[in-house]
């Protein structure tokens, strides 16, 4: 008998792609924004990110050891989670904050459900929610504004600070969204003053600063431009797909344009929605968290619904909710809805006879 060859089912060729190549490329795509944070906030941002990554990787390895399953920390998914946790923190955070966030994210957010692929919610966002709930002042107050931003807003921020009373913690911080939120509350700021500041926010100068990173905010949210650079790389590599971020951001744009002004419907300048897109965590959330493969719908229509849902919740929180920023909660809430979305958006097979 001649030689016997091994057989296997078709297809016999395979695109060169694997779970770890996907995850490491996401980590790579986040790197430019991390470098921007180092430039604007100093080396401390890198240190915090490394703490987050180490904690995530060690936790995952320990948990897998306890579960007696293969240890897969080299696949890069824990690295991405750790990075994203740290990206959501302000640079003045203590070292244990990203560590606590990563430990929670990996254990409760991921491994307890069975590890990668089985978690219903984005682990990094769950970790962030845990930190916000546990240490609200550390995570939402006391932002470090970089120098150019301080100058830009000096007048208006001081105006806010000099108001005699009723100023919650959040206002003393200087994130652009914090300011935008306060403007909506007549108890904090007079209507005239609010309009002046609002014009300052919805201004090309401000937006330019937001885009390049001269603002206060979290480590990873600092430069929308460099985040977009990373996102463009991932989109080019077909690792993230466009439906979720595009429908998410478009929804935010439209809703802010309609409801964002302080003088009723459609009173906002066209630059206000642009401001809202580049301020806060929307770019980071829309391109790197809402697109998390595990926790977003697999169907094409489902991805639109998911993105639009995230957009609506984000705007509701930003305009009328209790926090200045709603990106992370909006994505977490939509994560929970994913099985339902998938169930009701099963595509019609090619050639389906419509009745």
């Amino acid at each position: 008998m001649s030689q016997i060859y091994a057989v296997s089912a078709a297809p016999h060729i395979k695109q060169k792609i694997s779970v770890s190549s996907v995850m490491w490329q996401v980590a790579l795509a986040l790197t430019p924004a991390l470098l921007a944070a180092v430039v604007f906030f100093g080396i401390r941002s890198l240190e915090l990110t490394i703490y987050g990554i180490l904690a995530a990787v060690i936790t995952e390895a320990l948990f897998q050891k306890i579960r007696q399953v293969p240890i897969t920390v080299t696949d890069g998914s824990a690295v991405v989670t750790g990075m994203l946790i740290s990206f959501n923190l302000n640079v003045a955070s203590p070292w244990w904050l990203p560590v606590a966030g990563s430990v929670f994210a990996i254990t409760i957010g991921k491994q307890i459900f069975g590890g990668l692929g089985h978690n219903p919610m984005n682990p990094a966002l769950l970790g962030r929610a845990f930190l916000v709930a546990s240490w609200p002042t550390l995570t939402t107050a006391g932002w470090t504004a970089s120098a150019p931003f301080k100058n830009l807003f000096e007048g208006s921020i001081n105006g806010l600070k000099n108001l005699p009373s009723n100023i919650p913690d959040v206002i003393t911080s200087a994130t652009p969204l914090g300011v935008a939120k306060a403007l909506r509350d007549p108890a904090i700021i007079s209507r005239d003053m609010a309009e002046t500041v609002m014009n300052k926010l919805a201004d090309m100068d401000t937006i330019r600063h937001l885009f390049w990173g001269n603002i206060g905010g979290c480590i990873g949210e600092v430069s929308a431009g460099l985040l977009l650079l990373g996102a463009a790389y991932l989109a080019y590599k077909h690792i993230i797909e466009w439906r979720i971020p595009v429908s998410y951001i478009a929804t935010v744009f439209v809703l802010i344009y309609v409801f964002g002004g302080i003088n009723g419907l459609f009173s906002a300048s066209i630059l206000l929605p642009v401001f809202h897109i580049f301020a806060g965590g929307l770019i980071l959330g829309a391109f790197f968290m809402a697109t998390d493969m595990v926790t977003s719908p697999v169907t094409k229509r489902g991805r639109y619904i998911f993105g639009i849902g995230c957009g609506i919740i984000t705007v509701v929180i930003r305009l009328v909710g209790g926090y200045p920023e709603g990106v992370s909660y909006s994505i977490l809430l939509m994560n929970i809805a994913v099985p339902l979305i998938d169930k009701y958006t099963v595509p019609k097979p090619f050639g389906e006879v419509r009745s």
Binding site: H12, K14, H118
Partner: protein, 439 residues
């Protein structure tokens, strides 16, 4: 030219460079052929010879096993030496007839019917059925059955499939360059048989010379046109080709091209039809690409049906490296063979040889739910959810996500980062759904 296409699909490296410039070559006469009794979709053919019989080239050795079946003919002259189970081009072992050649290659009596085009549709169909022709693109549906639509399903368009979207394969390409007149005659016969007004030859954009050649040859033909198609896999799948060429969607859940007034035939089938009708020549040979990175001298070969793969590989001077995998057909939908002693069949478009490295496979890991399979599925299914549901034995859900409409093109498995064997899972789903429906 504007290239047409279909939604979904993938872009694997086309790898046609190995054999695309090699003209169709005649190999030495094989000393032995093994002719499987099932080379088509339908009932197996029934042997009409017994061991020890002498047969001429082209003599019928097995008759059709029913309407949806075809006869088989001796592809060399010689003696029937065995009727038993032999390795089969689609894997495993199947009943087949072994002929040991006498080296004479003497034909049965052929005709040359110069007025072949005046024959009636019934006579044309009869000659096609008698010649044992089935689809030569791979699936192997008996051609005369495709040409017999019920009265209420009129056909207006015959589409010739010259897409050859499988990577590596170049047999159809060479055939289009070397025998375009035979292809056009075959197409005209097919159109006449089903009374179709229009003929379309669909060719992918990576074969511009073939497109140009046919445009030139057809410039005076009002009813036949060449349609250029985008380079995308599976552009040559029947439903995707019909959609790209005519904009019509074949109904799912078992719909046939005839439901939308079309018949699709491979270009190789058109040549076989022409020869069967004009010369009453049975289908005893076909063009096959023997190719792959490690094949010393990749070629397109005009091979007798039943030739053993090892003989074809020897004609290509063997391999430069140790063989890792032997594939009958293309790399996307072909069958891995366990031995080179396997014969080729009427649907064998390629013999692809891979080295150890190309043949290595990754282990399945967890589904990331990335949805890449959903993005590329040309049938608009949800492959990942079919696979995960069948894994946990939820057959109803697997059905809901479209398992029965899968055309097994393999695009989903090609792009899966978790290396999930989606096509195998969907195959299991199909079997279990059939069981569920019949119980």
């Amino acid at each position: 030219m504007e290239y047409k296409s279909f939604p979904g699909g993938i872009h694997p490296p086309d790898a046609k460079k190995y054999s695309k410039n090699s003209s169709i070559a005649d190999p030495p006469l094989p000393q032995k052929v093994i002719i499987p009794l099932l080379q088509h979709i339908g009932a197996p053919s029934k042997p009409v010879v017994k061991v020890g019989d002498e047969v001429k080239l082209g003599q019928k050795i097995a008759e059709a096993g029913g309407f949806v079946s075809i006869p088989m003919h001796a592809s060399i002259s010689g003696k029937i030496t065995n009727i038993a189970k032999f390795p089969h081009p689609a894997g495993l072992m199947q009943q087949a007839i072994e002929i040991t050649g006498n080296g004479k290659d003497d034909w049965i009596d052929l005709v040359d019917d110069e007025n072949y085009f005046e024959l009636s549709a019934e006579e044309i169909k009869k000659r096609i059925a008698e010649a044992g022709i089935c689809g030569m693109g791979g699936a192997g549906f008996p051609t005369h059955v495709k040409l017999s639509p019920p009265q209420d399903k009129p056909i207006d368009t015959v589409i010739l499939n010259g897409v050859e979207c499988e990577p590596y394969l170049t047999a159809d390409y060479r055939l289009m360059l070397e025998r375009p007149e035979a292809i056009i005659s075959g197409l005209k016969l097919l159109m006449k048989t089903v009374k179709a007004e229009n003929g379309i030859i669909g060719i992918e954009s990576n074969k511009p010379d073939a497109i140009k050649l046919f445009e030139e040859l057809l410039k005076d033909e009002k009813n036949i046109k060449v349609t250029g198609l985008k380079l995308k896999y599976p552009q040559g799948a029947e439903k995707q080709l019909i959609y790209a060429a005519t904009g019509r969607k074949v109904p799912n859940q078992g719909g046939l091209p005839m439901s939308v007034g079309t018949v699709v035939q491979n270009v190789g089938t058109a040549v076989a039809v022409y020869e069967a009708v004009r010369y009453k020549k049975p289908l005893i040979q076909r063009v096959i690409s023997v190719t792959g990175k490690i094949v010393k001298n990749p070629r397109n070969i005009n091979a007798r049906i039943g030739t053993l793969c090892k003989d074809l590989l020897e004609f290509c001077d063997g391999t430069t490296e140790e063989i890792g995998k032997v594939i009958s057909g293309g790399p996307m939908m072909g069958f891995a063979l366990f031995t080179l002693d396997t014969p080729i069949g009427k649907g064998s478009s390629g013999l692809l040889i891979m080295n150890k490295k190309e043949a290595s496979k990754n282990e399945e890991s967890t589904c990331l739910r990335c949805g890449r399979c959903v993005d590329v599925c040309p049938m608009n299914l949800v492959p990942s959810l079919i696979a995960s549901n069948v894994r946990y034995n939820d057959i109803k859900s697997a059905e809901k996500y479209g398992a029965m409409d899968c055309i097994k093109c393999g695009s989903c498995a090609y792009v899966c980062p978790s290396h999930i064997k989606l096509i195998q899972w969907i195959d299991i789903a199909k079997i279990k759904i059939s069981e569920m429906r019949s119980s």
